[in-house]
C-alpha cells in the first residue's frame, strides 16, 4: 500500500468518525428538544397562568 493510499484511508475514517459523532450528537439534541418541549407542556398543564406570566412579563425588566 502506498503512503498516499494510507493517508486517504486515514482521512476517510476520520471523516466517518466525525460524521458519526455529529449525528449521534444530533440525535441527542433531538431527544433533548423533545424533553424540553414536553417539560414545558407538563408545567403549562400544571401552572398555566404562572408559565404565561413568567415568559410574557417576569422576564422583561422594562
Amino acid at each position: 500500500m502506498t503512503k498516499h493510499d494510507a493517508s486517504d484511508k486515514k482521512q476517510e475514517s476520520e471523516l466517518e468518525h466525525m460524521a458519526e459523532e455529529i449525528f449521534s450528537s444530533e440525535k441527542r439534541e433531538d431527544i433533548w428538544a423533545i424533553i424540553i418541549a414536553m417539560g414545558i407542556l407538563i408545567l403549562s398543564v400544571a401552572f398555566p397562568d404562572q408559565i404565561y406570566h413568567f415568559f410574557r412579563q417576569a422576564l422583561y425588566l422594562f
Binding site: F23, W32, A33, I34, I40, L41, I51, L59
Partner: protein, 375 residues
Amino acid sequence: MQQLKHLFVPDWTRFVPGFLFCLVFAFLGMNLDHLIGQYHTVGIAWATFLYEEAQFNYVVILLLGGILVRNTIPLPKTLFPGISIARTIIKPGIIILGVHYVWADVVRVGGMGLALTAVFIFGTAIVVMWLCKKWGVSDGLGGIMGAGTGVCGVSAIIATSPVVRSSPIEMAYAIGTILLFGTLMLFTMPYIGTSINLSEPEFGGWAAIAILNTAQLVAAAEWYGTEARDTAVLINVARIMFLPLVVLFSVWFYVLRTGKQDPDHKINKWLLVKDKFPIFILGFFLLVFLNSLNIEAFGNPRIEGSPFWAMNASYTWLFAIGFSGIGLSISIEDMKKAGGKAFTIGMVAALVKMVLGLGVILLIGAQWLRVTGGN
C-alpha cells in the same frame, strides 16, 4: 440507566460558559426589543421608525448584535462550544409551534410543501451533481455540494461526506459556501419580500425553498411575520424528512450506480435512513395531533388560561436563545473559506433556487400556503 447516560456527553461542562453567555445575550436582546416596542407604543418617533420602517425586532437585534460581538470583540475560546449548541434550542421552539397547526394545515400546506421541497431538493441535488460531473469536479465535492445545496446545508454535507469520500478541504469549502449564502439570504430575502409586496404565507413558502439551514430559515421567516414563520416551519418539517432520502440518493449516484462499493464495507440502506431521521419532528406532530383533537383540557393558543395558551408564550424565548447562538457563531473568517468551484456551484444553485422558487410561490398563491390553526 445506560440509555440515560447517553443523553449527556462526558465533557458537557465545556458547553456551560458559552451557553450561559447566549442566555444573557438573549435576555438583553429581548429586553431591548421590548423597550423599543414600549417607546413605539407611546409614540416616540425614532422607536416607531425602528419598529415599523426598519423592521428592527428581536430577531435582527440578536442576529446583528451577535455578528457584531463575534467579529469585533475577542471572545474567549472557552465560549465557542456553548455558543455552537445554543442554536439547537430552536428545536424545542419548533416542537412547541405544533400547537399552531391542525391536521388540515399539515395536509394542505405541508402537502404543498412536500411537493415543492421534493421538486426543489431533488431538482437541485440532481442538477448540481450533474453540473459537477460536467465541470470535472471530484465526486467528493460534487456529492456534498449536491446534498448541501439541496437540503439542510451543513447537516447534509456532514451526513453525505463519508459516503462520497470528501476530503477535509472539500468539506471546508462546501461548508464555508453554504454558510456564506445562508447568511446573505437571511439578511436580504426579508427586504426583497417587502419590496415586492410578498404576503407573509408566500414569503414563508419562498424562504422554505431557498434558505437551507433550519435556524436561518426560522430567523428570516420570524423576522418577516408570524404567518410567514408558521408556513415556513411547516414546510421545513416536510423538508427535513427528506434528509435521509437525499443521503440515500447520494449513495446511489456516487457509489451503487457506478459500482464503487467496497465489498468489505456493505452499505445498510435501512440503517442509513433510520440514523439520519430527525426524530424531534415526532414531538412537533404529537402537539399537532393533540391540538387537532380539540381537547378541552389543553385548550388552544387563543383560549386564555389554557395549557396551550401558556405554552405558546415560551417559544419566542427559545427562538431568542437560538438566534443568539446563530449571530454569535457567524464568523467572517469562516465564510472567507468559501472558495474554488464550491463557491461557483453554491452561487448558481442559490440564485436559481431563489428565482425559480419565487416564481413557483407566486403561481401557487397565498391561499395554499396560509396556516389557519383551525380557524
